[in-house]
Symmetry: C2
Subunit: 229 residues, 2 copies
């Protein structure tokens, strides 16, 4: 996965692209999609350039922070002027990989899974569901939002043949690891986990938790603070 060079043995001569990629802080990666949304609305209003002060004000961030985040995408701004809106959108989208769309499998066609399958906007973010899987036979053979639902036994073989790399996990906690194991057996390298369980993965596979319950907990906690005074 994200192995670090243990010591600086001639690290400078190494191809920069690789090194640079890994060095982007996670908080920056989380903020970048938000910039795109704001920039798109600016573009719609006909704006051609934008400063980090402008972006920062809208998203309530520090301008320096925005500037650093943008720098990771390789964009170059013009002093006194700012950044070209169109160019900036393109740079971030390219950086985040929204252009090269990835086909994905979804496991667990329950309430949450069904919603994700029907969420057209994911296409904008480079995610396309090509098949869903569920152990419930009554769901198999049907389609949900145009995506075929198949039995679990077809997952591994199909993932291999279709060269699928992304799996979305929307199964209950107790089935999560088992489903993840199937995904990995099928060659899937990235798992978007909506179950509340931590998933164990083989090397060179990444799990990102959707953290539904984390954010809900944060919300309730903050509400308690507000109401309690």
């Amino acid at each position: 996965m994200t192995s670090k060079p243990a010591d600086d043995n001639e690290g400078d001569a190494v191809e920069l692209s690789e090194v640079d990629l890994k060095v982007v802080p996670e908080p920056s990666l989380r903020r970048l999609p938000g910039y795109v949304h704001f920039l798109r609305t600016l573009r719609q209003r006909g704006r051609e350039v934008v400063s980090t002060t402008h972006i920062a004000k809208d998203l309530r961030l520090d301008p320096t922070q925005v500037r650093k985040d943008l720098a990771y995408t390789g964009i170059i701004g013009r002093p006194k002027v700012g950044y070209d809106v169109e160019e900036l959108i393109a740079a971030i989208e390219r950086f985040l990989g929204w252009n090269n769309s990835n086909d994905a499998f979804l496991v667990g066609a329950g309430a949450l899974g069904t919603a994700l399958l029907g969420h057209e906007r994911f296409a904008e973010y480079g995610l396309r569901f090509v098949a869903a899987f569920d152990q419930d036979p009554s769901k198999q053979g049907k389609e949900i939002h145009g995506v075929p639902v198949l039995g679990m036994h077809k997952l591994v073989d199909l993932a291999r043949r279709m060269h699928i790399h992304i799996g979305v996990l929307t199964v209950p906690a107790q089935g999560a690891q088992e489903a993840a194991d199937l995904l990995m057996e099928g060659g899937i390298r990235a798992i978007w986990n909506f179950s509340p369980r931590r998933i164990e993965v083989v090397p060179d596979t990444v799990v990102v938790d959707a953290e539904l319950y984390s954010t809900l907990s944060l919300l309730k906690r903050n509400l308690t603070l507000i109401m309690g005074r």
Copy 2:
């Protein structure tokens, strides 16, 4: 509760609860739900005590970090022994407010909204949907997963009369702020935002972003890193 007076100036007599509540770091709050999930599986297996080493190993965290997180809930462990599993679960649930269930309104009965309405597990986390709202007349008057869908014009009055404090936003970006304004007008103080827009709120109101697109971006980025070498 937990806190030690910085110096021993009879600090024990001071009301600690308020101060303590605010001082809990957000990362800790995000991790706590994960502990509960693990502890529940331990309980199911009949385990009665657990050490932070044990928890940390399972969730791949630092034991000291786990100990600090748990301390925020007010739980007290026994050296050499660990923590009482049952007691610990109760302490975290109480701390996160999962016991006192909150009634919530959902705005935007689209694909994502429908899924959330059908997600029974939210009840375990103290969230209960009592009504949904959508501007599409064809959806109004019906029920989704047992929750009535109403027109937007009924939102403010109903929220006030029912003393609703939590709103879940599952509308498209362009309608997000407007919907949030309605929620706030109805007296709602906490908004769980699934739209990609940053929401502006009045004082004493909290927004927590579900960050679907943030985590998806993280996932795709990490995948690119893995595949690219």
